[in-house]
């Protein structure tokens, strides 16, 4: 699956403003709903107040009536208190109502009707009281006995009831309005909640897909890496095998050359020497020229023989073939000590190794001694050869300056070549060195299996 980083950016850039927008819409719905409800409730409260004023108005009238009647009945002045209070209450209530309904012509008309009726009644009441004051008792009794007061009050009450009913209707409408607003808010918020949830689910799903894609990708990478590692391991094994093979082949080549030189060339030179000896005896007595010639011939042959021996020695040390590993190592150590004036201490146990292992041991010691001469600046070297269970251990230790194994220069393959040879023969090699504290080179090789 292709990995599209731009897609991810697009998706993640969208998510945040979307969430913000949802939140904003919810807040807006909520706030507007709240404000609207608040207004509507305020209006409701006022309507309640209006109803209350209406009640006060009516009561004011009733109080006035009662007070008037009481006074008329008893003649006591204290009954005029409710009458006065009722008047005041009535006046203020009517004013309040007028003010409240100033924008509502229908209700205002009703209020005016009520007011005119009320005024009539109040006038009547006032004149009744005046008559009483003047002592015109018949007059006031007639006024009271007439039905006018009751009719007026009835009309007034009817009008007031209508006003009240109308107000109640409006209140009802208002309350409904509040419920509607709350409903809208509620629906709005619920819808937004669902939208938000849907958006969240969508987002989560997208994230999940993304994660899955990433996981696939990293798995693919991991598989590829494992494959590459596998290839690297194979290649390394190939190279190691090749190197070991080359090292072995090289040593075998040398052996073969040494053998050929020794057998073929050696025999030829020996035969030539024999011939020269025969010649010398046959030609006796010799003229000086012939003698000189023969001497030269012998000298040349001797040089050839020396050269052959040198070459053979370098190819395959004759001491190894002729005297065995222990003796060969002793000779090597002695020659090294003589050449470099470094003390060499040997502890060599006779061991049985296959031929190619013996030459490997010899070469290892040779390489180590060469390195010591070149770099170690040591004063003492110890060479030990010993059995170690089913293997043979060869160890070369010096007290020189040591070296840093990590800092091997390119092109110096002596020790690593040695390691390949040793490992190619089923052995192991170990180099322990600490700068300033000498070096120890150890190798283990399997013993010769008795045929």
């Amino acid at each position: 699956m292709e990995f599209n980083p731009l897609g991810r950016l697009r998706r993640s850039v969208l998510a945040l403003p979307l969430a913000a927008m949802v939140a904003l819409v919810v807040v807006v719905i909520n706030e507007s709903g709240y404000n609207q409800s608040k207004e509507e409730l305020a209006v409701l409260i006022e309507r309640g107040v209006a109803r209350q004023q209406l009640q006060y108005m009516l009561r004011g009238l009733v109080d006035a009536e009662t007070g008037q009647r009481g006074f008329l009945l008893t003649g006591r002045k204290d009954h005029l208190e409710p009458y006065d209070a009722g008047l005041v209450a009535y006046k203020s209530s009517v004013e309040n109502l007028r003010r409240y309904f100033e924008n509502d012509p229908v209700q205002l008309a009703r209020v005016e009707t009520i007011d005119s009726n009320a005024r009539k009644r109040l006038e009547t009441m006032a004149s009744t009281l005046e008559s009483y004051e003047r002592g015109e008792h018949d007059q006031w009794r007639a006024l009271v006995a007439s039905d006018v007061g009751k009719q007026t009050m009835d009309a007034l009450r009817a009008e007031a009831t209508q006003l009240l009913t109308s107000e109640n209707e409006r209140i009802g409408v208002q309350i409904k309005g509040v419920f509607d607003t709350m409903s809208v808010s509620r629906i709005g918020v619920n819808v937004m909640a669902v939208v938000a949830l849907a958006a969240l689910l969508l987002f989560l799903r997208k994230t999940q897909l993304l994660d899955r894609a990433q996981l696939e990708h990293s798995r693919a990478l991991s598989v590829e890496r494992d494959q590459l590692e596998g290839q690297v391991v194979l290649r390394t094994a190939d190279l190691t095998e090749l190197t070991q093979h080359l090292e072995v082949a090289r040593e075998e080549e040398r052996s073969r050359l040494a053998r050929e030189l020794h057998d073929e060339l050696g025999a030829l030179l020996t035969a030539a020497k024999l011939d020269a000896a025969r010649l010398k005896r046959t030609l006796l007595p010799m003229s000086p020229v012939v003698e000189e010639g023969l001497k030269h011939l012998n000298a040349t042959l001797d040089q050839g023989i020396a050269l052959k021996r040198n070459i053979i020695e370098n190819l395959r040390p004759s001491s190894l073939s002729n005297l065995g590993l222990v003796a060969a190592l002793e000779i090597q150590a002695k020659e090294f000590a003589k050449r470099t004036e470094i003390r060499v201490h040997t502890e060599l146990e006779p061991v049985t190794l296959p031929d190619n292992a013996e030459i490997t041991v010899y070469r290892l010691v040779q390489e180590s001694l060469t390195n010591i001469a070149k770099y170690a600046r040591a004063s003492e070297v110890a060479v030990t050869l010993a059995k170690d269970k089913d293997r043979v251990c060869i160890r070369v230790r010096d007290n020189g300056v040591g070296f840093d194994p990590a800092a091997t220069r390119r092109g110096t393959h002596g020790l690593s070549g040695m390691r390949h040879r040793v490992e190619g023969q089923g052995g192991a090699m170990q180099v322990s060195t600490v700068p300033g504290h000498g070096t120890t080179i150890s190798a283990w090789l399997p013993m010769k299996v008795p045929a």
Partner: protein
């Protein structure tokens, strides 16, 4: 003087035989290229020689083995070792195994011939130098 030569290189053997028979009155009565056949010849009744010339490195086995066998068989002939590798150690080893002389095949050819002549003249039994 009857001589038996133990040498594995055919070329050297031929040359040795022709040189010895020419320069010294040596009769080469037999040769062997390996330790086993050399010892077998020595052990066989009726095989006598006055001189044994032995090369150390044979096709199989070594001249040292032949020397040992010669000693244990009670062979009375003079024993001469030829070798390409005549170090002090080798010489001493050969001597301790009963060799009368050790000659380097390449550099002491003259000495070998001289020794054979002397032997033939019946002179040598006294000490020659072991170099």
């Amino acid at each position: 003087m009857r001589t038996f030569i133990v040498e594995d290189s055919p070329l050297i053997l031929r040359k040795l035989v022709s040189t010895l028979e020419e320069l010294a009155p040596v009769e080469v009565v037999g040769s062997a290229a390996d330790e086993a056949s050399a010892v077998a010849w020595l052990a066989k009744d009726g095989n006598h020689c006055e001189l044994l010339i032995i090369d150390i490195f044979l096709k199989s086995g070594t001249g040292l083995g032949v020397l040992r066998a010669a000693t244990s068989l009670g062979v009375t002939s003079k024993r001469v070792v030829l070798t390409n590798y005549a170090t002090k150690d080798i010489r001493e080893t050969c001597r301790s195994l009963g060799a009368d002389r050790v000659f380097d095949k390449s550099s002491e050819v003259e000495e070998l011939l001289a020794y054979c002549e002397r032997l033939n003249d019946g002179v040598d039994s006294a000490a020659g130098t072991f170099n």
